[in-house]
Every structure is written in C-alpha cells, then in structure tokens.
Symmetry: C2
Subunit: 319 residues, 2 copies
Amino acid sequence: MADRNETYRGADAAVVGIVGTGLIGAAWTAYFLSRGLAVRAWDPAPGWEGRLEGFLGPAMADLAAVDPEAITGTERLALCCTLEEAAGGADYIQENAPEKLPLKQDLLARIDAAAPADVVIGSSTSSLRATDMQAMCANPARVLVAHPFNPPHLLPLVELVRGEKTDEAAQAAAAAFFEAVGKAPIRVRKEATGHVANRMTAALWREAVNIVAEGIASVEDVDKAIRYGPGLRWAIDGPHMLYHLGGGAGGIAQYLEHFGPSQERRWKELGDPKLTDAVKKALVEGVAAEARGRSIDALARRRDDALIDLLRALAKYEG
Amino acid sequence: MADRNETYRGADAAVVGIVGTGLIGAAWTAYFLSRGLAVRAWDPAPGWEGRLEGFLGPAMADLAAVDPEAITGTERLALCCTLEEAAGGADYIQENAPEKLPLKQDLLARIDAAAPADVVIGSSTSSLRATDMQAMCANPARVLVAHPFNPPHLLPLVELVRGEKTDEAAQAAAAAFFEAVGKAPIRVRKEATGHVANRMTAALWREAVNIVAEGIASVEDVDKAIRYGPGLRWAIDGPHMLYHLGGGAGGIAQYLEHFGPSQERRWKELGDPKLTDAVKKALVEGVAAEARGRSIDALARRRDDALIDLLRALAKYEG
C-alpha cells in the first residue's frame, strides 16, 4: 500500500475529461484549457457545444487578464459525442451534473466504466456526499468530491472530499493534479454538510441575517462592514492565522489564553434567526437599496473584474 | 430638531484630537495626518511621544504606498502636554484608551468637559457600550463608539454606535466626517456585543474552530479554504450582496425562495465547539505548522504588504 500514491495519475495529467458543461463545467473547461491542458468535453443537452463556446470567450479573456501567460486558444478542446469518448481518453475527469443524487450516481457509474483504472474522478457537488455518489461504481476507490468555488475559473479553492470507499491515494493524486495546474486544493478528512468553506460561509451569513433581523444594522451596512473590514483580511489570511496575528507577541496561544473565555461568551450571544417572510422582505429590500439600480449582470461583472485585479495583486504572496 | 444635524462639526473638521496613542491611537494619528488633517495628541504614559513618532514612520510609508497622494509629513502633529490641550482645540476627538470601563468613563468625562459643545467624541472600543461609557459626561449626546478595524491606518471600516443618550445627529456628523476623510463608516442602529463586524467574525471563527475540533479539516486547510475561496469575494462584496449574485436571474429573492429552507437546515448542522485544552492544542499546533517557521512580525508584515496591494487594486471599485 505504501506505493498506492503512484497508482493514480496526478500531477502529470495532461488530458481532462469534463462531463456536464453548464456554468460550472464550462468554467472548469476554460481554466484547464488556459493552463495548457487538453479537454475532452461532453454534455447530454442539445446545443451544448454552442453554449460552451459562447462561455469560453469571455472566461478565457478573464483568465488572460489574471495571468498574461495563460493560453487563450481552444485548439486543445475536443467536443465529444458520448460520455465514453470524453472519459475514455482522459487522465483526470471532472463531473458537473445538476445536484441530483440518482443522476450523479448513474453518470459516475458510466464514467467509472469508461475511464482507465488509474484515472481519478472528481464531482463538483456542493451538497452531496461522495459516499452516496460512488455507490453504483465498480471502482469507487477513485471517486471523490472536487468542489470548486464560484466563479470556478477565477477562484483557486478546490475541496477534495473522500467517500467511505475512496482511496486516500486518489485524494492525494487529485491534490497533486490541482496543485500542478495552479489551483488551491484542500484535503477534507471527514464528510460534512457544506464541506469546509460553505460551512463557514453559512455561519457568517446566519449572523449577517441575524443582525438585520434584530435591527442592529441595515443590509448595506452589514455588507460594508465585511468588505471594508474583515473581508479585506480574509483575502490574505484565514481566520486561525488572523487570530495568531491578533494575539500579540504570543500569537494564537496567547490569544486563546486571554480572549478564549470572552470569545466563548460572544459565541453564546450570536443569533439564531429564522427566514420568516418579514426577514426575507428586509433582506430583499435591503439588497435592492444597496444595488442602487445596478443589474445583477452588472454587479457580477464588477465582482469578477475586481476579482481579476485582486488575484493579480495577490499573486506574489502565494504560498 | 430637524436642523440638529448641523449643530455638530462633521465633514469640515480639520483638527482631530487623539487621546491615547497606543497602537490604535497611533494608527489613527498616522491616518488623519496622511489625509492633511491636523492632529492634537496626548497620552498619559511616560515616553509616549517617542513611541508615537517611531510608529508614524512605517505607518505613513504604508499609507503613501496605498495612495501616492497621501501626505507623509508630520508637521501638522501637535504633541500636547495635557488631555485638555488635545481636546480643547479639536473639531473631532478620538479616544483610544485600554478597554477598562472606569478609565474610559473618566477620560470621556474629562474630554467632554474640555471640548467645544459641537465637537463629536468617538471611542475606539471593541467591547464596551457607548451607553456605559457616556454615563459620567455632562454632554453625553455627542459621545459614541467609533470602532476601527485592525490595522486601523489601512482598513477603511469604522463602526459608529450610539449609546442611549447619543444624539442621532452626532452619529450623522461622525459619518460625514469619516466619509470626508476616506474611511468607510457604518451607522449601527442598536448596541450589541461585538458591534457588527466582530459578530460575523466570531460566527465564522466558531465554525472554523468546530471544523478543526470535529476533525473535518486541518487548521491550515481551513485557512486555505477561506483565503482562496470566499475570502477573495468578501474583499469585494458583503455576504448579502453575494447571495444576490448567487441567486440566478432572480437574485436574493430567488435564492431565499429556492435555498432558504436548505440554508436553515445547514445552520442547524453548524457546530457549537468548546475551547477545551485539546482544541486549543490543536489550534496552536495547526497554526505553528501553517506558519512554517515564519515569525509573527514577518507574517504581520506580509499581511500588511498584501493589504496595501489589495487596497490599491480595489481603489477603482469604491462606491
């Protein structure tokens, strides 16, 4: 078993199979192409090829804006006629179907049947468990969650979660693959609702909703508090490291010693809001005020433009 | 009462009184000087003048790196011999004493006695209530919390919180003042432990601790999940706006309709960790592994350098 790590294709994978080319699959396709990989894509929906190509133009322009050395051509993209064609010729496969368990179980079983035995298969799911998804696979050991964060062509995070039958070496190979192509993979150790990042996102949003529900601050001021305060730090360091830097000369050990009890008291005072009609109304009206007439498309474009500038600015602080 | 807003000095304030020049007061001093304001500073600790001047050099270099038009000279700084000298000649006063209620009550009463009646007095407190702090003031209506976020010379957020006796017009004048000098003030509507931002920070950290305590992911992977995922977005948009952008064409209304129930279920699955000795040990050891031998000073310098680059990159997206 010691050499098990070498039985899966990882850092040297050159061809990626993409099954499902909606927004997530299309973003993955753009990213892998931009890094010089070949992509073999397939989707069951009629007309998917045109929609994918329409998505790739702007997404690859985004990627070129982040990294002037990114590849912008689509010569290495193969539009496949069957799932088996996409999966059969790949070194790594990323599945991006809608969040329906029977559908994913079926697709993953088909991918598993078509892919070489040493190819790792990742699912982009945000809400399903690898243990459930791999249930119909003949070789479940190489099936895992590989969850990106929206927009996936720009955000580096990939959460790798094993199911009960997933080989640890398959997770290690997937991590090596994503690191080699410039993503930031994490190895989740235990299946949990929301994996890792979305658990923290949900925890933060629960209190953001509570602050509005309790009348402590407006929707716009809650958002302002994050983006002009801790949000700027979270783009640079995670929460544990930030308490290390906020603990004085003794770091997080000193912080826990001095402020641990007051943090535990503060945790008790956080809210447990319900999304009642009144709360939903306050959120919807508050966001409308904050948007000041700007469309969702315009706001999303602004976010992605800012993300590109931010990724460029932070590139030198990697690692 | 309609004209009450005009009875306090706000956007046109040109002289700031700084009472207490520890790390927070010194950072405020650097910021106000860099924006062309005059600062009248005072601190009771022997040798404070030298420590303040030692802090100003690097802090004003940081500010010049963020904004090439920032003022870097300290000609407008007056080192005052008494609290009354600092407060008596100011258009706005920022108090930055240690977080001890009797000390703050006493200082604020003295500032209140020395300052012209139309001058707003803000306290940098993160943990005390304005209602308690203003208790000994003859004119409590102009006393409020004006809480910055660390490092205060770089992070724009200022939380303005009224006590029971604070005039709404004083809060409005403080907001006008901070906006005029380039900060991002929010008007908190109700006193609450942690004001606004630190409530959300605490909520996120509670789940970050839970993920480590439950063995879902390592300290380093939790931090990586934030900084390569949602943290990059929170530097640009707050949580409510991000759900608006993640809700499809119908925005947050559609999001709440489709995913509100699943969010409420997810909230129920979040953890309620205790900072036991075992959990504290896991956090301390995990952060040590993540630091890879880098000192706290080196990590804090890296964070501030990255913050400067990030603020420069995002300057064009303000407003």
